[in-house]
């Protein structure tokens, strides 16, 4: 009796220790060398990922797509580095890339905020960029450019689509990790839904609390949270939860409801047709375009540093996907709101009250 309990405990701990070691990063073939003609000044791009690394099917992969497209077109080398499992070596990634002469060096994710401010000044001759991190005030150094996104604008349109399509008058939002970044998604979504239907109820829930990044990569909990919303009467749920979004789609498919994807056009990226059928639309955050654009700017010598490049609806860095044709009938209304946001007649909040 007692012996079996101990054995269970051992098994449990063993699996937990293993889980602590594990990462879902597939054994993807590493940095694809562009191999273009070795010019006098070859482009050598360094790309440092955040937690999850390559193969997260989310913003890390999106950044890679953009960087690879740029280095393929311009010729040159792309070196990517994923952090260790708890991402405690972010500073090391940037230092190693800069030390080995990669330029520009692009950091992916707001978690690089402190680290890049520390490392960039040590390498004044290297050009840095940070996806999801602002450097408008130049606090991170004169050689850092922020690649930021107006996620609230796209989320607003997602809210508009959800409210127009909802039959129950109740929609949901699943956030991955409680953080200022994800709250931007939430704020925009709620504002968009209420712009269409002031009486609408928006259920909002985060998978993990601030500081616990498991919520971006936990489909099982994503499914439980979304299922709870569907059970409570919501019929459309928008997720900003990275890899956990898969669970949201599964919950929607299981209960015959619909979901809205995030970051990439998830109608195209999920492989399961049953899940495809429930993805009404996706809020597009084109990290790939932003990274590609930045590398092109760098190659042309157009990077100033100590500025932000804002990607929003007007630059098409943020958009709403139409794949699947589920929102074709409300496209004109969505376009109206889109135009109003671009014109500035509608201002979208970035924080929840």
């Amino acid at each position: 009796m007692k012996a079996s309990a101990r054995a269970m405990a051992l098994l449990l701990a063993g699996s937990m220790a293993l889980a602590a070691c594990a990462s879902d990063e597939p054994a993807a073939e590493g940095g694809g060398e562009g191999g273009g003609g070795a010019a006098a000044e070859e482009l050598r791009v360094g790309l440092a990922y955040d937690t999850g690394g390559r193969g997260d099917r989310s913003f890390n992969d999106s950044a890679y797509t953009g960087a690879a497209a740029a280095t393929d077109a311009l010729g040159g080398e792309l070196q990517e580095l994923s952090p260790n499992d708890d991402a405690s070596n972010r500073a090391d990634l940037l230092v190693q890339l800069a030390e080995q002469g990669f330029n520009p060096v692009i950091a992916v994710g707001f978690n690089y905020d402190d680290v890049i401010a520390e490392v960039a000044p040590q390498f004044p001759d290297t050009t840095f960029a940070q996806v999801d991190g602002s450097n408008a005030d130049g606090a991170k150094g004169d050689n850092v450019t922020g690649l930021i996104f107006a996620e609230e604008e796209g989320s607003f349109l997602a809210g508009v689509a959800a409210a127009l399509k909802s039959e129950s008058g109740r929609v949901g939002f699943v956030g991955g990790v409680e953080s200022p970044l994800i709250e931007k998604f939430e704020a925009g979504y709620v504002a968009g839904a209420q712009a269409v239907n002031p009486q609408i109820t928006v259920d909002r829930q985060y998978i993990s609390p601030a500081g616990d990044f498991s919520g971006f990569n936990d489909p099982a909990r994503g499914q439980i949270v979304a299922q709870g919303m569907f059970d409570g009467g919501a019929d459309i749920v928008y997720h900003a939860a990275g890899g956990s979004g898969l669970g949201v789609f599964q919950a929607a498919a299981a209960s015959g409801n619909r979901a809205i994807g995030v970051d990439s056009d998830q109608y195209l990226t999920v492989s399961d047709p049953a899940l495809q059928a429930v993805i009404m639309t996706s809020m597009l955050k084109r990290v790939d375009n932003a990274v590609e654009g930045f590398i092109n700017d760098y190659a042309e010598g157009n990077v100033e540093g100590a500025t932000d490049v804002l990607n929003d609806l007007s630059t098409e860095g943020i958009d709403l996907a139409t794949s699947g044709g589920f929102i074709d009938d409300i496209q004109s209304e969505i376009d109206q709101y889109k135009q109003q946001i671009i014109d500035g007649t509608v201002t979208v909040p970035t924080t929840i009250e």
Binding site: L12, M16, G30, L81, L181, G211
Partner: protein
Amino acid sequence: MTGLARRVGLSLFGPLLAVLVALVISALVIALIGEDPIAAFRVMVDLGDSPSQQVQSIVVVLNRAVPLFLAGLAVAVAFRMGLFNIGVEGQYRLATVLAAAVGAAVVLPAPLHLLVIVVVAMVVGALWAGIVGVLKVTRGVSEVISSIMLNFIALGLASYLLTGPLRGSPPGASIITTSEIPGSGRVPSLNGLLTGLGLAEPRSGLYGFLLVAIVVGVVVAVLLKRTRFGFDLRATGLSPSAATASGVDARGMVVKTMLISGAIAGLIGLPDLLGSQYDYGTEFTAGLGFLGIAVALLGRSAPLGIALAALLFAFLDRAALPLQFADIPSSVVTIIQGTIVLAVVIANEVARRLALRSAERAGASAGPDSGVGDGGTPPPTSPDGGQRVRAGVPGDPQGAQA
């Protein structure tokens, strides 16, 4: 004398076999994905070209090893008693956020300031782990269950404290942190020592907390091996009934052990907090408590073994970067770490059976006194007593005796 050599050999046998098996499996995996295993291993042991890069690599490994070592120690102290403290994760997170907040709030001269932060962290960790001990002795709640559950509460509580009352970062910031600890509360780096030894100046500072970790390691080793308390602890771990029969207060031991384990757990976050971060934020390193379980298993719950295990894990961790520069997926490191943990559990079991068999054989020839003495005899000179091979695997004490 041969008996001693045999015991030491047996205690080293498990971990070494585990590492070897892990390397073979990893080599196979590397070969399967079309890379050269020898080249991969060569990349992993290459510390860099210039002296300053090499020193920097060593500093990176040491800085990573310090928290891992403390995490392993925290887990191991409970292991030795047969207690499974899976709550180390929650204990250190809660301890770190509170220590960071207190450190930023008080104004004191340098050594005192530091002492206050360390004491706060240890007390918080101890109290949080103490809940587990009290629940176990008063209500009979399995420490495995309660410590896992308390992890969730601790993480939620730490998150609430960080985003609520202890928030020190400006409202718009993406990373939420506590206020920064002023200079008097920070641990200076040991770079002066490195350059004093004639080594090149590394880019980042070697954590001064390394010295604290060494002291903690020595204290734990002495406590376990050289004190009445340590004897009681190990005896209870080997056989609770035998220990109780010989007058050990098993219930009190459970609570005391959890308090010590938790106090050490409270230190885990401090090397990073006081050596480089100076505040606790949403991006603060998580998961060290779980890694500590792996490190303690690999180190066979002995301080010296844990130090080696922590260094190995830290070394593997660093190797992930050069591997990526060599276009070899860094998952190789993950595979090695995972297989080591798996292999060490198996190897410990094999070593335990071998030790048991040799003890039985010795007992059979020496006479019928092997019943209790077998487990309780503390071999004074071996780094990790041969009979305690099962200490790393809190399986079933009764089974070991049967």
